[in-house]
Structure formats: C-alpha cells, structure tokens
Amino acid sequence: MRLRIHEDGIRTIVEEGIQKSLTACLQCSKCGGGCARTEEFDLSPRQVIEYLLDCLDEQVLDSRTIWLCGKNCTGCEAICPVGIPLNEIMATLREEAKRRGIEPKYVQPSLIYHKFEHCSKHRKEGEEC
C-alpha cells in the first residue's frame, strides 16, 4: 500500500520532549548495527525515527522496539554521530503508548545482555554478545 505523506503525527510531541528535530538523523544505521539486542527488535532505532517522520504512529507505538530499547543501556546514544537522545525518545513513546492503552511488549530487560555485553571476561566463553 502506498503511504500518503502527511505531517500530523506524534513526531511533534517527541521533538518537544528532546528539544531537537528528528530530521537531524542521518539514517546511517550505526545505532542498529551496534545494538546487542537488535535481533529482538522489529524496528531498528533509526527506523523508529523514519517512521515517526512519516507519521506512521501506530506502527511505532505497536512495535516491540520501544519497550526494549533505551532501558539501562546507552549503546546507540553513545555512538550516534549526531547525538540523538534515543533513550528519551523511547521513553516518550512508551508514555504515549501507555496513554493510548497499548500493552507493553517486553518489560524485563534482557539479562543475557547485561552479563555478556558489559563484561568482557564472559565474551570468550562462546556466548553470543
């Protein structure tokens, strides 16, 4: 189905929250490439931003990514070449989803992530990090 582009989405709420335009995103995809949990995502962080710019609000609020990304992790924020505050964006989106009565997809952060990504001594034990 062809998407009719318009401007009336939650993008404005998100941008007010971060005091920055989402058009700053280069769509370079560095965020998703470095993420330890990217395989659990349905949208990579840069796709969340592109969807917001296209006002595809329902797809964003219905995604797993917003419940998984930006909890106890700053992996993507730290490497973002334009410093987009993805954690804040995800928090705003979670709030908006809650307000609309959308059920969280995953609430618990992955423990595997904490153990193997942040602790280098575990990396050599044959575990995926």
Partner: protein, 337 residues
Amino acid sequence: MSKKTLIIGGGIAGITAAQKIAQNGGEVILTEKEGTLGGNFAKLTYTFPVLGDAKALVSQEVQKVQATPSIEILTNTAVAACQGEIGDFTVELSTSNGTRKENVGAIIVATGFHYMEPTAYTEYSYGRNPNVVTSLEFEKMAAENRLPQGDVRVVFVHCVGSRDKAKGYVYCSKICCSYSAKHAIMMKKANAQSKSYVFYIDIRALGKGYEEFIRSAMEEYSVRYIRGRVAKVLESEGKLLVRAEDSLMGNPVEVEADLVVLASAMEAPIGSREMAAILGIATDEYGFFQDVESNVRPCHSSKPGIFLAGSCTQPMEIASAVAMGGLSASEALAVTR
C-alpha cells in the same frame, strides 16, 4: 613594491602555484615545513579515478620546480612573523640555517590538510588492534607491499570522523568514497584471492569519472558495497568482527575480517590557527583558512594580498588543488607585476 611571491607549503597546490608564477615571469620563494616537497600527494601510491602512479606524477612536478631558477625552495622552513600589506609584506622565515627576512608582494598559503587520527573511535578498536588501520596507513602498506595475502577479507569503513557531529566533523570529506573504492581495487589487484567489503552511508562521487570508477570497483573487482555505517569492530579469536546494519534490508549483519581500513576525515592542517594569527587572516570553525567569497573568490583570504590554495581551505581532491594553485598564482601575479 616587491615582485616576489612567498608560497607557504610545498604540496601539489603550492608547487603548481610556483610553476605558474615562474612561467609568467614572476619570482617565488617556496617554503615547506618538512624536509621534502610533495606533501600529502607524495604519501600516496595511486591516484583516482585513473590509477596513475602517484609518486611518479608528483616527483615530475617537484623536479620542474627544482629546475626553475626563479623558484627558491626552502625546506624545513616555517613562517615566524609577517608584517605589512598588499604589495609590501615583510616576512620572517625560520630556516634550518637560522632566521631570515624577506620582502614579498604577495603570499600564497597552501599548507594542505591533515588526516584525522581516529583515536576517539574506540568502538572500531583503532589503536588497540594492529589490523585496524587508517586509509593513509593502507597507502603505506600498499607502497611497501605489505597488503595481506591469501584468502582474506578486508572491510573499508566510510565516514570515520566525517559527517559525525558528535566525535568528528559535520562536513563530508568529499574524497573518501572515491579513495576507498581505489583502495578496494588496489587490494584486489595486489591479492586476487581477497574479498573486499565497503560499508557506506551515501556514495558521493563528485567528479568526472568518479561514479564510473566506483561502479567499476563493484562490477569489475567484485567489491561488495553494504549500506550502513559500521557500529563496532570487535576482536574475536585473532580475527576482527565488523558489525553494522544493512539498512537496505533493515537487518543486522557482521563480517569476519582480517583487515579493517578506516577512511578518516580530512581536517585542517596542524597549527592552522597559529599560522592564521601570524598572517592576520581568518579561519573557519574547523580551522580551515576562510575565503572571503566561496563562489567567485575562492582563493582570496580575509587579507588583501594573501591568497589561499588547495586543501588548507576545505577537503578537496588533487585536481581541485591544482586548479586552485593556478588561480592563486594568477591572483599573486596581478599584485606583483
């Protein structure tokens, strides 16, 4: 009024300016802070988009200026002070034989650029793993026949320090897309068994033959281009694991590599702000020398009589540096003759 022109910097822009001034009857003092002429050009192995022998090309130009009596070459020389105005500058040069004063009518600044050291990019393991190198180091490896042999994978990473507001520069360094394609081709020529991967964000091939050159890397040399900025380079059992998102697929990908080449940004030459203070000219926010008007007066500095040439003004390829050298020469001649 002095009829001499001082040219600061013996790279291709300065060399070209010196030749053009001499050919038109002017006199030149050409200073170079290093011991030899040639600048960044002399550090390359091949040119693009035609794979020309870089060292032969540059030494041919160096020999021309060396053979010209009206060009005085001072290597290991820095400009210590500068007074005066257009047509009548007094400059103090610190040479290896002590300082000397010269009276010149015009000055051309052609101090070139510096390759950024990507030390801030810890996520790419640069400085930690010897198999993660910059493009300049790759050139050196190629010149010394040290490119990896056998069944190896080589990954080229675009935009390291360029288009990166957080850790580098907002600007695009302009030539990295093309020279990374050149490196991938050089790799394939040096080792037919090798496989090359280029991770890109956008491909910017802004010059005659550049698009065709990059297409040839893909089509004739089987270089695989993947759209996505590399996020991490991990060390894994003696190899390197390059992680990114293939953004056309929207899928995370990884490549096990033997060598990772970072296309680091072109930045302003070291000490450009100090040099600008000595000369009394302006620099931009990045430290490149500022032109007064970028479209029709690209080689006029903020001070009359002082002209700019080459990559000390912005990232540029050799052809543009040569063109700007020629333009600055004609501006200097208009002042001194």
